[in-house]
Symmetry: D2
Subunit: 364 residues, 4 copies
């Protein structure tokens, strides 16, 4: 059977609470109930819940409200799923709702937020197999759509533990979005105040932002609550490794899934993290330029090595004629970041690569 869950793309998540939510909590009511081997077609709102307009003006980006971030479609109650099982999700197909996509840079977020702090927007025209943009002429980005957020509900105990874990990180100065009822969907208590924010990924999956989860991929989640309560959102037309500007090619989307259960699988395989088989679509590139990033001033620090590779690649793209915000965004939607080595103390090598196929005019 094919079960469909639609959203109204012109309404906010808050106005369609029966199918949409933006916090993780086990008490959110299922939008739909399915059986293993049913197929499900889900429509999803874009990651910013409609805040970004298809205009060059960046005032929308300067004034983003983080409260409604990550409207998720669901939860989906899977009959027979119980804690300790593995939920197998197959991504059968995915694509945009409409033809508008966007990528942006906003103050306070992003891997290089100390360097890139101005609001900046790139609008994409989402074609069938390629996206192009009036804001970065001369490039085209092949479609490899996937859900940035896909995950199952945490148990009540996990909600408490994870909140406490994250509060601990925040107390040491980490940048953390803690539970906050402002903008929460559902807005009813105690979910609004208790529900975990969707920004970080966790043991239940969530905002994994793994570009390889495009159609043809398969993911295994440990089940924590009866019915598993799968939710999906934040669909990306395409994304680079790292999603460095904090956004991919963001879009409202449609995704087709099937699910099955491995009873008692989480215990049997000892699986504590989502496990996946990548999509063939996400690896369509063939020819790359890479720069070897190095953490030259610190010891054994992959974050710094990645930063070094990315900064040097952006500088290289600037020499090729792109402005630095374009370069940063181009990497965010199409770059690759690989940990080439993490053992040659004190310096790691992180390769920052850009596929040559994205350029339609210049030859780099």
């Amino acid at each position: 059977m094919v079960v469909k869950v639609s959203v109204s793309p012109n309404k906010r998540c808050a106005d369609q609470e029966d199918v949409c939510h933006n916090r993780w909590h086990p008490d959110i009511k299922p939008a739909v109930e399915i059986s293993p081997d049913d197929e499900i077609v889900l429509e999803t709102l874009d990651a910013l819940d409609g805040q970004i307009r298809n205009t060059p003006d960046t005032s929308d980006i300067a004034n983003i409200d983080a409260g409604p971030v990550h409207p998720l479609t669901g939860p989906i109650y899977v009959k027979g799923a119980e804690p300790g099982d593995l939920l197998v999700v197959r991504i059968l197909d995915a694509g945009p709702l409409g033809s508008f996509g966007y990528t942006f840079v906003t103050k306070g977020f992003g891997f290089l937020r100390d360097v890139f702090d101005k609001p900046y927007k790139v609008r994409w025209e989402l074609g069938r197999h390629y996206a192009s943009s009036p804001d970065i002429p001369g490039v085209r980005i092949p479609a490899a759509p996937f859900p940035g957020v896909i995950g199952v509900a945490p148990s009540r105990e996990q909600v408490r533990e994870w909140r406490s874990r994250e509060a601990g990180i925040a107390s040491k100065g980490g940048l953390v979005l803690l539970p906050d009822p402002r903008g929460a969907v559902p807005s009813r208590e105690p979910i609004a105040s208790e529900g975990l924010r969707t920004l970080p990924p966790r043991e239940n999956g969530g905002n994994l932002d793994v570009r390889n989860l495009a159609p043809g991929s398969e993911i295994l989640f440990p089940v924590f609550v009866r019915g598993a309560l799968l939710s999906v959102g934040d669909m990306h037309y395409a994304q680079g490794d790292g999603e460095v500007s904090v956004t991919a090619i963001e879009m409202g989307g449609v995704i087709r899934l099937s699910v099955s259960l491995i009873k008692d699988g989480a215990r049997k395989y000892g699986l504590k993290r989502p496990l996946y088989r990548p999509s063939p679509l996400a690896e369509a590139y063939k020819d790359y330029i890479c720069i070897a990033g190095l953490n030259l001033d610190s010891a054994e620090d992959a974050t710094s090595a990645a930063r070094d590779g990315l900064l040097n690649m952006i500088e290289f793209l600037e020499r090729m004629g792109y402005d630095r915000y374009q370069a940063y965004i181009l990497f965010s939607v199409a770059g690759f970041l690989r940990l080439s080595q993490v053992v040659d103390v004190p310096t790691y090598t992180v390769s920052a690569c850009i596929p040559r196929e994205v350029f339609t005019r210049i030859s780099i």
Copy 2:
């Protein structure tokens, strides 16, 4: 013209100083002089300079002398190369000298050195296109040979600056191998005491350990001294991203290169790190199992997320029947580590993947 530089595989680097060295210093005498567009065939000693035996016994690993690490063949003086130029190196071919390769774990080194601290050795039989091992039955590793170390000489000023930079890291508790005349080749002063150790990669390349530098690849190095003084060693039959156990499939090797110059290119392109185009050989895998690694207890830390992905993958491979040292080594020679996202504060996603093609018996 084809220029060949041979080494005696049964002699130590110290006994063939005319073609071999193991420190970075601009005053090491060139082994050979070539012109752009000559081809060069270099033989190289293995990374441990012959300390590892083709026997199951691990006393050799327990007693490694780090002094002679990374015997390099060269330096090669490239006619016409001057500071500010870019040296383009094309890897035309590469392979083992002989059929013995090894991978090991040793106390005090490796990405998981707090967890894996016993000496452990895997011997490889290096075939034409696949390596196999009596120590990890049921796997085979496709050949994608490359130089772990490839770089140009630093200037005298850089030798001073980089030594000082690394001493600073050591003084803050970083694990750093500082200049040390013990085991140095050449042994003459002041090179032995001043020469930079080969372990970390630097602006001149060196121990980049980028698996993608297999035949068919191309690398651009900024030139720092007259003649460029290219050196090559530490050849690997195959390596995973990360080289997590601190060794790949190590071997004595043969490599065929050609070089050309882009005059004044480093200045023109502003290149401060090696830039490369990957080899087609290094990407032969098609089908992977991945685990999403997450830094759940720290803020914005790619190192911890990579560690989490790797530990979970090792645990998964244990469930599949490998012992944990085998699993660690298997990842070290064939795994993938990709920074899926580095923006979803406070938690990053690092995907740790193992290609299914390496397994000949079980199906994972």
Copy 3:
């Protein structure tokens, strides 16, 4: 500039002669005029001009009228194009109009028309990245859309010569569709009676049915008349090598192109056939099962060897649980046919391959 040419998908080609034709003739009036480097978006009708219905009933297939076959959108007049030039066409994007596609077997056509002579229909639901069908459960076909027919207008002299060439073949018993005004668009004379049928490909391209012309590909056509007069139609969602059942996954489509000219290029490069660079999309498969077809009863005959490989593959798929018409159609939309050797007299080897990725349930 982006120029768009739309068709009415619910009207026949004959009812929209200003943008649609189904014969090759230099006197057909251009639908639109463009400049090199304009982009063009074309909508196209399906290959059978609306004769096939989205129902299981096969009476439509039993009663196909071949007259209107291959409605083409165009011709497109390219400013500045003159005989002797090369017209470079880049396929920027492509996809279906709507979500219905079909594949069929019909009496009197197809590579195995002596064996498969009953009307048979498979309806496809065309998803964003995969097509599936109620008529062949357990398979899914990745999207790699392309125009089956793409070509430039022949000169008047070529129309005469090629008609005469084909009449010669018919006179020796070859199966040839000769000019025929029945169903011709435009219906005005002398075009209707003189215009070449679209079934065979010719020096001007036309019904090349090359699956590799999906988005990302590039084709060079010799120009024969002023303005080149490019026409496009017969779009396929996906096709196997050979298109053995005489149909691919047929659909009405949308295609985005850009063109440029190499002045005097046909003469300069001596190009007498279309030359192309394949799309990356068309090669997404990674894992195949192949059977070595052999012409065991004839001398040096690739046609027989291909037939032998195909028949054996169909028999193999029957053992795997498909009925033979399903198997034939599956190969028609996803198979591979490679001439492994054409020299080992008297017997050639043609490999008939089916990619394993199309099967979602069984493992072959």
Copy 4:
């Protein structure tokens, strides 16, 4: 267990009859006996049994003796194999014996033997991952070694039937090499006079010349006699589809195999031809130039369409600066021939492609 069968590369097949033969016959004595799951390492002589010298002089080619063609190593008796079983052969590794390879054109053979009738020789230097040649500067061919000939012994009845079948083809004017004791190994009767020549492939495999049988591939053969009697030879460093000049990059080789049995599998699966899973190595190319070959003067003839594509590609390569014999040979070692369509009566499309990666100097 690993079983090794060596040959003396400096001796002719006739001088080492215990391990070498060049006819198909069930009564040839096994060179060795193995059990399923043993590994076997076989050395093989080159296809011409040492007749071709590593010199530019072509008198050797002008005077080829076809009698000793295809020295095969074996037969290998597989314990437990019986008629009706399937023999599964896994190609674990393969490579050259030594570093000399050759490709040639000789009068009377080859796909274009009416056009190319002069003796012509290309010598190859076989590197670890690429071959290059003084006779075609500016190209390099990636290693994808495989056995041109691999097969099992026919039964006595099949020897009779197939001889009769081929005599029938010869009697209609087909070019066929019929049984001939001249040069036969073993030379004893009745094998020498009855034994089938190795040139054509047959139901038992043999000279399949399928480039995709490189390391990593797997082949299933129907077993016709007790012990299966597997033989292997004619190793190629690399080959194009078609092997159009009648030779690939020919070499003496080493190949590592393992075998297993599917009892009664030939009957169960109805398999009448060798079935295989291609090697990942054989598809390393990524970027191609193709020409659409068309049989414009005949009806439904894949041979003519392939010939048309090949002739046009050779002409194109001539414009790029290669002489036509070089172009013919380049295609023979690296080209692709795909049956794009075999239904658009009366004209087929065969795509003749050359991968751009083989060119190191010019850009086509």
